[in-house]
Symmetry: C2
Subunit: 419 residues, 2 copies
Amino acid sequence: MLVEMGKQARKAARILGRTETARKNAVLISLADAILAQSDQILAANAQDIADGEHAGLTPALIDRLTLNPDRLDGIANELRNTALLPDPVGETFEETHMPNGLQVSKQRVPLGVLGVIYESRPNVTVDVSGLALKSGNAAILRGGSETLRSNQALVAVIRDVLGRHNLPQDAIQFIADPDRARVMELLQLYEYVDILIPRGGPQLHQFCRENSRIPVITGGIGICHLYVDESANLEAALSVVHNAKTQRPSVCNALDTLLVHQNVAADFLPRLVAFLGLDGVTFRADQSALTAWTDDDQPSSVAAAGPDDFDTEWLSLVLGLKVVSGLDEAIAHIEEHSTAHSDGILTQNEAHARRFVAEVDSAAVYVNASTRFTDGSQLGLGAEVAISTQRLHARGPMALRELTTYKWVIIGQNHVRP
Amino acid sequence: MLVEMGKQARKAARILGRTETARKNAVLISLADAILAQSDQILAANAQDIADGEHAGLTPALIDRLTLNPDRLDGIANELRNTALLPDPVGETFEETHMPNGLQVSKQRVPLGVLGVIYESRPNVTVDVSGLALKSGNAAILRGGSETLRSNQALVAVIRDVLGRHNLPQDAIQFIADPDRARVMELLQLYEYVDILIPRGGPQLHQFCRENSRIPVITGGIGICHLYVDESANLEAALSVVHNAKTQRPSVCNALDTLLVHQNVAADFLPRLVAFLGLDGVTFRADQSALTAWTDDDQPSSVAAAGPDDFDTEWLSLVLGLKVVSGLDEAIAHIEEHSTAHSDGILTQNEAHARRFVAEVDSAAVYVNASTRFTDGSQLGLGAEVAISTQRLHARGPMALRELTTYKWVIIGQNHVRP
């Protein structure tokens, strides 16, 4: 059954790949309209998912993740309209050269082909990914979580209906509704029909895909993120940057996990930080080096001694690791050992230190004097994202339209032969 | 044992990644000198491999592939000197933008890290790949074929010696000498230490890697290549382009496998072509549509009826498939069905046909009026290549220095926080 899906996706991708920009944009606009027009059916399907989830005892946080409402549907529709405004990467010609023998050589961007996307919970992913796939001329086979099955099916029905109305193949977007985990395994073997696999979920899903996929996998979305407060940092500003990185949305991958502080400012900075972030309910796991910022008597109850795995934990919640370091070298060494190479930054007024940090920390996103929360397609000018890659091949960091393309070499001669 | 290699490679890669261009170039020049200075030892090791190979009954073609001689060592040394002259991709900054909020965003090229390369026969690969890896700031773990074990070990000894003399980590280039196939399986699991796996060999090796690797794999190097002679082609020129594509080096992946000819020129062109290429010993597998170019009486003995798999065969020898098509549509459809998406071209004087062919044929290299033999790093201005990718992720077609890098996002703020 999945092979049949694969074949249909391949066929649809060929047509999508040759579809003009204006027509693809028209589909996105129609889709935005249709989602709002059919919001009653979508919200009814979502209400069933919510009821089932509550019955199954999902946590309020999980229920919130899978909940749709008129506001969130507005957001989804706006996202589609924004994607329609972005430049179409397909057909872009680059690296044009004339070889000394007269051959004209260039590269031309083409869609990747068929995307396989495995994701959990949030039903907006269904629409976001479909919008980016269609705009970049790709087909997609989607596998959402069972806890949002009805919402996803309702959204996919709207997408396929809009495709049909624009005389484009409905199978450009297909959804695996069978909740059997065997279907995921089957998807991972479809290398003839699927060009890239994007798992969006926890470490187990990524590991499962890495171990079992015969399709190239983009892993990412897991961030143990660091900020290092250098001796020369503007401490007042550092308070607000750290506060933002930790608390603005603690459940996501670019939120701060570990704060490293230079030993010469730790005694001043750490108590202020703990007091300030404590107002938002942040609790702390402090290395021995950081505990020395307090006496036994004045150590706040929000500060606990860090356990052995705490600096290798992505908190995804209002917990922050604290460590005092002797300087830039130790900060870089700690990041090298514990970072997942997602987003790491330095707060400093020392330009040489900023330069060294940028040169030596090899993460997908390296920051100077900014919150790690900016590692995000829309924040970095891509308009949206299908994933945040922490692997090194193909694309690193936020992936959007251009990252869903590859290129072909176009070589024009006058009956050239190789000597 | 391989885990230890991986750890050492990772350490070495960190140092290589920060090594200045001039120093990396000096290593390549020293290495070119050292290979010539130590040619006696290298050729002695190679002579043992040759003797063993002859004893084991390897074909003359295979013996030729693994043979080194002073000329070939000269070639290897020159390749290194050329690589030294190429621009260093590491550190290149691109896609610089200022976001409306004042964030400075750019991308900076960094090495991939550690390359795993599995290859067969030709010992020059050991040096070519090492040179490209070092120049692009990467470490490499190499696994050559058992039939060239001694030659490879001699070459790797020279490389490591040169690295040591330049105070760079010798473990930047490591070689798996144990011929046990279990070591390959072990290498494929080292995802913590190896960032990209490049198999260079036949379809079985590629399939084995795709099925078993937990490291991202670049597959490629397998080309069922097509040329289509359009009705408007300059037939005189077409003879020489087809001749070049088929005979200039028939054993390689960019050599021509199937010729498609427009029905209106087939009766004229096919007999001339068969006569002309026959002078070089080419034999033909003709589809029924092409056999009609001859009567039963005048069909040359070099032309046989094509079998059912002949249009899905990479010949790697002086055999050429022939098929007559009704026009551009059928040519594109045949290529879509049978091509491995390596190198495919059209010979035509009709610009609209050339444009459609380029737009609709989605191969790594698409040609207009040129031989497919140009799909090659040095022919396309990359100086050299580690592989010719036919997969869609990361890089397509010839891969050289830039394709051995990835990038990091560098984001500079003035204590920016996300609203």
